[in-house]
Amino acid sequence: MDGSDGLGCMLVAIGYLLAGLLLCLAAVPVAVIVALVFTGYAIYLYLRGVAAALGVGPDDRTVKLPEPPTRHEDGRDPAPPHYLYGPALADLAQTIREGRDRPYRALLSLLTKIKDRFFDWSEPNPLAWAFGGCLWLGLVLGALLSVLTVALLALWQLLFWSMLAGAAYGLIQALRGLDALNLWVRGIWMFCSSTCHRKVLFPIYACPYCQRKHHDVRPGRYGVFTRVCVCGTRMPTLLLFGSSQLKAFCPRCGDSMGDRAGNAPEFVLPMLGASTSGKTRMMLAIVRSLQERDGLTAEFADEVSRSIYEKYAPALSHGTDTWKTVPIRDTPLRAYRLHLTAHHGGRRLMHLFDPPGEIIETFENMQAQGYLTAARTFVLVLDPLTIDAVWWSFDDARREELARYRSGMSADHVFAQVLQNIEALGVQPKKARLVVALTKHDLVRGLVAGGNSDAVTAWLESPKIGLDNMVRSMCHAFGEVRFFRTSAWIEDGMVDTGIVSLTSWILDREGLKRTGLPEEDL
């Protein structure tokens, strides 16, 4: 080896040393820059993954959600769940999958490329190894940083969803509470007067478009303010938002609850009395009186009530017989439902029951009349023809003529049966009102005292009539008692004043004030 070779070797060594020194100085900034660039790229890939998982942009990789049932089954309504109740969690899982996989695949690909490019073991190249090492170091740092970043972003997403779900849950509970408070303040409860005769907390509502039934439309997993039926129609979730405009059905018996159920306070008005005491005619007269009254609008809440009234109401003015209400075994009594709107304010839904007279004879029959437990006012229909003093005041010919109109049970016996049976049903008469109607005034004109409740009471208590015990029992048993002399006969197109007074008194007590009768008559 000569001197020039030694110098050459030394220069190469110095060159390598300087290159190594420069590489060492550059390694940290290069690694940091690579790490930052890769982190930015990973965030970009994560966002692309999130976009694909959420269906934003052309690359749609949204998770396939289960289709809602086409009708109510297994406790599920025919409506897709609200986004925050199910789909959000599925989307979160999908965004994590898509957002995690893309940066990971990119990292593996880059590492492989660096390995292939800078670490060719067949041709040893320390400079390439050193540079490749810097890049690897940068990528590993970037991977750690991007894992941290992506994890923080996913955490933020989870937090955001949780906040929304928490806020929605709070809103749902608040709305439910507000609706319950609204119903309580307005005194609204719903009543099934079709079949099961029970109070209903939450009716089933039908979709206004496809008529599919939704069992619980209140704010919940299917929506906060509205829910979407499987057919695409939006339905309000609360009475506050107009669910009373939907067709309501009883959740127990499935029968219709009439139009606009839950829109107004409801009251049940049973008309009790013996067979042939004139309950049905009086019910028709009450409906006519309500329809003709100034200051009040009465509308039928269902077609059945309307058609029955329209069929039989002419009998009131023609003098023809109405039908006899007969008990049908195992067939529940259906109420006649009317929406009453006072022009001075106030609305009510009236359920008017006209049970057959035979039901008061036995407790078993009365027990089937579940609506009695929901009534606050009872109308007791008494036939004055059953009062001996009245009956025997007619001559033989007239008695023979009137025999077909005469009820078979005496007035005091009817009251005793009614009181005994409703008490056995759990009704507290002291908290209820009793309206006593002495019917058929058109047949006994001049024989029954009238004018006002006191006059009728005095007449009943008189020694001639001898029903003072019954009147005392009534006043003792019930919280409030009123007596009326009525006739269902329509004369000169006018409803009997006794019927007008009776309905006015009932409406007044049910909270519909000033509906056509002076205060002093109430």
């Binding site: 949204t62 989307d91 972003l153 933020w156």
Partner: protein, 48 residues
């Protein structure tokens, strides 16, 4: 059904995007701050 959730999904994506942008800004600011500190330290060392 998916169309029903579109508005929600776009909202969630925009919120995530906003968070990512904010995070990137914060990260860049932190890195620049560190680099600036390093430059200042180097200059003061050279000056000394």
């Amino acid at each position: 059904v998916s169309d029903l959730y579109r508005r929600w999904r776009v909202t969630v994506f925009l919120v995530t995007l906003a968070a990512a942008v904010l995070f990137c800004i914060a990260l860049t600011a932190a890195v620049l701050r560190v680099l600036w500190s390093a430059v200042v330290s180097s200059l003061s060392l050279l000056g000394a």
